[in-house]
């Protein structure tokens, strides 16, 4: 993988070795990016802001899954259920105990982490396909729980919840809620980036790279595998809570297995084992259907539509495009968008002497 660090390793202190940003420009770039998003309400409409918000909370949940799948080498196909648990938990905490939403969101994250630890317990011993099936059980158990636990979720009819509020500032519009999600994204991503620099983070990576070697070196496998599940669920819970207070309605239908697979898709497309890749994958998954929709609308009623007699089936193009994208990514860019992005950056950095 091409690195943006100068050739040779000139780092002369542990401090330099621990840096998050390899170059000054990448730090400035990130700041500019944050400022740009913060200014987005000035330029974008509510719909586009809604997409940004979606990218935000899905990106947080996808990051959780990436810590589990990309950094620890575990697998989970029940991530949407944890996402849903966070959403219901936050709505329930607010409705039942009248806790302000600003506290509900982290509390929902912690509660989801605890649930994640319970369902992650098999992960201490299982891996690969067996673990996948164990997490599949979490998906179905939680989904059924959502549909039946009237007191907690409002049953199949779902639960309506209140918008985010802080000192009388109500974030009930896209323009305002964007800042809530942006703040959450910054906090959660900074936490993850730092986590990977700690002893625990390195232990997770060691477990992924070779669990036997890691164990020989003194890494407690059971502990770190379960911990990874807890962290992943925490992220899913926070993402879900942010979703709940954005949509203001939580319903069991949203958290099906397809959604879990979609999270896996985000992580794979974005880049396994990459912090920023999670956000890029989420952005891709949110924007792709929009782009396809535009294409489908352009196609509707046109010559191709008539020739192939697409008619109402045109709306299925959207679903098919997502599947196609995943396949193409697996074939042409198995390292994800983030890898492609690094290649582009390296190209311009080294231009014109890229070889």
């Amino acid at each position: 993988m091409p690195s943006l660090a100068p050739a040779g390793d000139y780092r002369s202190s542990y401090r330099e070795d621990m840096t998050i940003f390899l170059t000054r420009n990448s730090r400035i770039g990130l700041l500019i990016g944050i400022v740009l998003v913060a200014c987005a309400p000035l330029a974008l409409g509510r719909y586009e802001l809604g997409l940004l918000i979606n990218i935000g909370f899905l990106g947080i949940a996808a990051l959780g899954l990436n810590i589990l799948v990309g950094f620890t080498g575990q697998i989970s196909i029940g991530h949407a259920a944890f996402f849903g648990f966070g959403a219901f938990m936050s709505a329930w905490l607010h409705e039942r105990w009248h806790i302000p939403v600003v506290f509900c969101i982290p509390l929902a994250g912690i509660a989801t982490a605890l649930i994640g630890l319970v369902f992650g317990a098999p992960a201490a011993r299982l891996k690969g396909l067996y673990l996948a099936i164990a997490t599949l059980a979490a998906q179905f158990i939680l989904e059924d729980f959502f549909a039946r636990a009237q007191w907690f979720t409002g049953g199949v009819a779902g639960r309506i919840t209140e918008p985010f509020e802080l000192f009388g500032w109500r974030a009930d519009r896209e323009e305002s809620y964007l800042y809530v999600v942006l703040a959450a994204v910054i906090v959660m991503y900074a936490f993850a980036a730092n986590l990977m620099r700690t002893r625990d983070g390195r232990a997770l990576v060691a477990v992924r790279d070779h669990y036997l070697s890691a164990e020989v070196m003194g890494v407690n496998l059971a502990y770190y595998r379960t911990l990874s599940f807890g962290i992943a669920s925490f992220y899913a819970g926070v993402g879900g809570a942010l979703y709940a207070h954005y949509l203001l309605f939580v319903s069991v239908e949203a958290f099906n297995i397809l959604f879990s697979i979609q999270f896996l898709g985000m992580v794979i497309i974005g880049g396994l084992g990459s912090i920023m890749g999670s956000l890029m994958g989420a952005a891709f998954m949110v924007l792709l259907p929009e782009v396809v929709q535009v294409g489908a609308d352009a196609l509707a009623g046109g010559a191709i539509d008539r020739a192939l007699k697409l008619g109402s089936s045109i709306s299925f193009l959207r679903e098919m495009a997502v599947g196609l994208a995943i396949i193409l990514f697996l074939i042409f860019e198995p390292n994800g968008i983030v890898h492609r992005w690094q290649l582009i950056k390296a190209y311009w950095k080294l231009y014109p002497y890229s070889h």
Binding site: Y47, S315, F316
Partner: protein, 430 residues
């Protein structure tokens, strides 16, 4: 070359200026459809009816008060969260009204449309949407001042069928108490009339069996049919839509279950009768139009004109839900016209008042097709007269189209009775 460029430029300018010259901005109206989800079997003809009606209104009546109606149709796949996010996307388009669909999403959107004052004509006839002022005092039932629908509520339709069933039991002179069972998915839509139906069944002297669950999607429901058989059910309510009900009917026919099925208003139509074949014979269900396709009625000419919007040849057979879609859309059209009358603004509040402007309201030009509705500020139970039909399938339906089968008399909708329910205060919102 420059000449051509000029002409092109002028053409663009002219194209942009034309709508402005007409002096009227189109009226944005949301339309949530289920073309791909769990209820798409009946959602598709209903949505087609709604879309065709607005296209017809734009074409032949020059829209509403000279402004064309811009229908923003969206297929939400019967997923309430998708409907809610689409609703939020529409708020930027400032829709003045919404033609909606399912129970879960309509009930989820109640608070939003009440807050934003957007009249909402749903395909859901859940009784929880009728308590307009929130005066019923029922737990969990909110005020729904902006929710309307064309037809009797699910609960009222079931009440009517239960009354018919009680009479039917007596008429047949069978001994003992009849047994009633509610069947449907664990979903807000089939659940909606469950409590109301079971309560009335108890009152009418039925033994109420514990409900039987089957999913909204087609599948193998032999187990459910054997439950019916073992428990000796006499009357079974099918709470789902046609697609999954067909599976139950066929499985029960195979299992040799002798039950009188009572269908939900969305539970049966001509397409389902063709698909289910003789298994669908005898199902009693409510029809909320005074005439079905092919019948003679003064309003039928307009219905056929609307049908030709999407079927220029005029040969398609339209099931009951298509015609119901027309009547639902026409309520919205006339309420908008009332709002626009005397130079008024077409706003949500004025449209809502438009729904209250008439008594025994039949959209003009649809006499004999649409059934009269009456809405008041406290009570959105538009219809309390429930017309029951029985499906008649005389033979093999696997050959030929629905149109041919109806013409040959293989498939027939046979009127049974009309039950007039009292406007009981304690039934409001339930």
């Amino acid at each position: 070359m420059t000449m051509r460029k000029h002409m092109l430029g002028w053409a663009v300018v002219a194209a942009m200026a034309l709508p402005m010259a007409a002096g009227a901005q189109p009226i944005p109206l949301g339309h949530l459809m289920d073309l791909s989800g769990g209820t798409s079997d009946v959602g598709t003809p209903f949505a087609q009816g709604v879309n065709d009606t607005f296209a017809w209104v734009n074409k032949t009546r020059n829209g509403v008060a000279g402004r064309s109606v811009n229908v923003l149709a969206h297929d939400y796949g019967y997923q309430a969260p998708r409907a809610v996010s689409q609703y939020q996307a529409w708020s930027r388009d400032r829709v003045v009204g919404i033609m909606g669909w399912g129970t879960a999403d309509t009930e989820a959107l109640v608070r939003f449309v009440t807050r934003d004052r957007i009249p909402y004509v749903s395909g859901s006839y859940s009784a929880a949407l009728t308590d307009a002022a929130g005066k019923s005092g029922r737990q969990g039932v909110e005020a729904t001042p902006y929710n309307f629908f064309y037809g009797p509520s699910y609960s009222d339709a079931l009440r009517a069928m239960l009354q018919w069933a009680a009479d039917d039991w007596k008429a047949k002179g069978k001994p003992g108490r009849p047994k009633y069972v509610h069947m449907g998915a664990n979903h807000p839509y089939p659940n909606s009339p469950k409590a109301a139906g079971e309560a009335l069944a108890q009152e009418l002297g039925f033994d109420v069996l514990s409900p039987v669950t089957f999913a909204l999607t087609p599948g193998d429901y032999t187990a459910q049919c054997l439950t019916l058989k073992n428990q000796g059910a006499n009357y079974a309510y099918l709470g789902n839509t046609a697609g999954s009900n067909i599976s139950v009917l066929r499985a029960c026919q195979t299992a040799g279950v002798d039950v009188q099925f009572l269908g939900n208003v969305w539970g049966m139509d001509e397409n389902a009768m063709k698909a289910a074949g003789t298994a669908a014979d005898g199902v009693v269900f409510p029809v909320r139009t005074a005439a079905v396709w092919g019948a003679q009625a003064p309003g039928m000419a307009n219905v056929q004109a609307i049908s030709r919007i999407s079927d220029a040849a005029g040969t398609a057979y339209r099931p009951v839900h298509y015609v119901a879609g027309i009547c639902s859309a026409m309520l919205m059209v006339e309420a908008m016209e009332t709002a626009a009358a005397n130079g008024g603004q077409v706003t949500g509040e004025r449209i809502r008042d438009g729904f209250y402007a008439r008594k025994d309201w039949i959209p003009k030009g649809f006499e004999g097709v649409c059934v009269p509705s009456t809405f008041t500020a406290n009570d959105h139970r538009g219809q309390l007269n429930v017309t029951l039909y029985r499906s008649r399938v005389a033979g093999d339906t696997s050959q030929g189209s629905v149109k041919d089968l109806v013409a040959a008399g293989t498939i027939k909708l046979e009127p049974v009775t009309t039950v007039a329910l009292p406007r009981k205060a304690e039934w409001l919102g339930w």
